[in-house]
Symmetry: C2
Subunit: 189 residues, 2 copies
């Protein structure tokens, strides 16, 4: 028997991405975002939804670019802090002793200490309501050499990205390998 | 040292959502989608990106509605199958012995056997490239009573939603609890 919980953003889990931008004066900023996801394969794009009240919103409107730094679970505390402080008042890179690397491709910085980075230029801006979705074309993906697997791809087991459950406000790690896509379902045929 | 992997949809993990729709004749269909996410809090919305070639694409254009059924990891094989077959040729509900429940709120069916459902009406359609993003306003969320926690919210530990790693084509479970948001970061201040 299903129980109605109302019209709410109850779904789980969501990714934890760290969005890197520059402000008008060139100060690098970070925010934690979970209202995000891949939204197109060709061109490769991600959607990142932000409230206008965030410092990052103004930065993206100004610079038309952002990066996504994907942290490992050892960084959960820093990422939680990034999600609670605002770049209007704090230099989060300095506060957390993180290094801002200027992307050579887009007008935005990324976090040197985080293993996986997407460099994005904004190609669509969609006004939805409280949130504005920025669709960013992925211009390049960069991953630390130490966490690339033998196939040359990011190794989730080494990187250990983590998740956010908005229903209960809890962070979770990535769990057990449940099988390979486009093959595990064959036994149902 | 970061290695450039090119302009690709390399990010991980992504959710595994089962999208429910009706076709012109009222036949219910399912597809597996990972290019998805929450994209607004007010009104509560999700974005679901699909290729025009999918059967679901035509159904959503026709009906302006879809559901998201969130499966538990015990259903990984069925969900992988749903992602490899097409509703043009197969009745996936019948094939997998799943029950299509007609939403009383939107013009789309959901999966009775899956514990968590979002019922959505399309409020924006964004042509990005190979994929079209449908922004669906969440009109209601329904969860099996047996997997709601003491706070009346979906219990991720009981539901055990699972994830897709597009980089390597692997499904993963949800792992360890890493702490509570908006509090675990306090120790960094």
């Amino acid at each position: 028997m299903k129980k109605s919980l109302g019209a709410k953003t109850l779904t789980s889990p969501t990714p934890v991405w760290i969005i890197g931008t520059y402000d008008k004066e060139g100060k690098p900023n970070l925010m934690t975002a979970a209202w995000v996801g891949i939204c197109c394969s060709q061109p490769p794009c991600v959607g990142v939804s932000l409230r206008k009240a965030t410092y990052t919103y103004g930065n993206i409107v100004e610079r038309k670019a952002f990066t996504v730094s994907i942290p490992g679970e050892a960084r959960v505390k820093e990422c939680d802090y990034i999600g609670t402080a605002t770049g209007k008042n704090v230099d989060k890179f300095a506060r957390l002793k993180l290094t801002a690397v200027k992307s050579s491709i887009v007008d935005a910085p990324y976090v040197q200490e985080f293993p996986w980075v997407l460099e994005c230029r904004v190609i669509h801006t969609i006004e939805i309501g409280l949130h504005t979705e920025f669709v960013g074309e992925i211009m390049d993906v960069k991953v630390d050499s130490s966490v690339v697997n033998s196939r040359g791809l990011p190794d989730v087991g080494k990187i250990r990205p983590f998740l956010f459950d908005p229903a209960n406000g809890t962070y979770y790690g990535v769990g057990a390998d449940l099988g390979h896509a486009f093959s595990t379902g064959k036994s149902t045929r």
